[in-house]
Symmetry: none
Subunit: 251 residues, 2 copies
């Protein structure tokens, strides 16, 4: 319906005004806003690429990139020759909920203790910069913390924090694990990802964890964002015999 399409496009073009982000990202944002607000319903046809090109005065490649990325992200569904439609919300979406390890241990009725192995303020090397999405030599904190549950070492935490976003990170009391609370306060977690694998710990790590060299360990690499900013990367290493990871998805 022409009137409806015009109306959709008119408000869509209003939505993407005034932002320093790339145009393709703003188009994505505007579309998501339409969907999240309920204005565009599941299975509803989205304006065609050429309609968006006209309404937004941008190139088709830019519109195409926005729509394609939203399709990859499961927000939209496209079919060649037919059109683009709002995807139905998936029945399940699995998440790790990221918890404060102290709270997890307390929830088990056990006692948590943290031992700060080291913390330094430094300039990010190239790898750290890439992992944190900052420039090389950007100011960071590097911290290594050993966590105990009922006096038993349960996890080595190696963390790199963007010092710009958490300037007083090194002033926290790591024995009370206030560092976690501090991070949540200055840069509330909005997004994260984890990579989990089974590894063998290095000799030094075996010593810290009080395990022998052949014991398998669970390694979790986690990156955490606040809004669009990558706040911290962490590598968590736990003996397989003492640590499990639980996840739940669905209702």
């Amino acid at each position: 319906m022409v009137d409806t399409a015009t109306s959709m496009m008119d408000s869509l073009s209003k939505t993407i005004e005034d932002s320093p982000a790339p145009i393709y990202a703003r188009v994505k944002q505007a579309i998501c806003h339409k969907i999240n607000s309920g204005e565009w319903q599941a299975d509803q046809r989205v304006p065609s690429e050429s309609e968006m090109v006209k309404a937004l005065s941008v190139s088709r490649m830019t519109v195409n990139r926005a729509l394609r990325e939203l399709t990859d992200e499961g927000v939209l569904v496209r079919q060649q020759g037919v059109g683009t439609f709002v995807a139905q919300k998936k029945a399940h979406s699995a998440l790790f909920e990221v918890h404060n390890i102290a709270d997890e241990i307390a929830a088990r009725g056990h006692t948590h203790k943290a031992q700060l192995i080291e913390i330094t303020r430094a300039k990010a090397n190239m790898e750290e910069a890439m992992n944190l999405g900052v420039r090389t030599n950007h100011s960071i904190f590097r911290a290594t913390i050993l966590h105990f549950e009922n006096e038993l070492p349960i996890q080595i935490e190696e963390r790199v924090v963007n010092a710009s976003l958490a300037p007083d990170y090194d002033k926290q009391d790591f024995q009370l694990n206030t560092a976690y609370d501090y991070l949540m306060k200055v840069a509330p977690m909005t997004e994260g990802e984890h990579l989990v694998e089974a590894v063998i710990a290095s000799p030094k790590e075996c010593e810290l964890l009080a395990i022998n060299a052949s014991e398998p360990c669970l390694q979790i690499k986690r990156r955490t964002w606040s809004k669009d900013k990558l706040v911290t990367t962490a590598r968590l290493l736990s003996p397989g015999s003492r640590f499990q990871l639980f996840g739940h998805f669905g209702r």
Copy 2:
């Protein structure tokens, strides 16, 4: 190094010849082949976009799309002004969203194969009954499947299925992995939970996975519900060196 780059590009351009797939997809494939074969190592710099444009006689937009998509998939790491590098780990299996392992492997551009080790219809013993939320002696299927990625064993799947909810489970073609599709059809997944830990495989499992006895393995125990019914429990075992688990939360 010019010679090395020329060599890289020469063989890259040979790799992408003769395929009906879109050019951007062929470029992706060729790059993945270089990486998976070990010819391009982690952290190694990949030829620049303009080098690839020249060597492959394709447009920069086409190359850019291939590199960008591989970056999104975790295969490559890019930094503006610096270059494109091979990422340190393979594209990882998305967990906690439950996917068909065959689809995950195909999405990486690899070949999946499944070998049915055994399947039997049986009466649930007490432990199986408890795990499935059914009565002891309830009718179940027990299946053990060995999954391969590019001819390399990557995972042992031990599964127990509630036969009432999936009566034709044993009639599926496990080499084509239609069992997964069948389960999704008769009992669509609405809820699940996972328990992940690092373990050492048994000698028999080491043999199936073609690993030595000291290699750490990732074990995932998963329970899956359809509506309020527990459909299946699975134990997935993968060598740490070949398998990672990825999770994402937030937007």
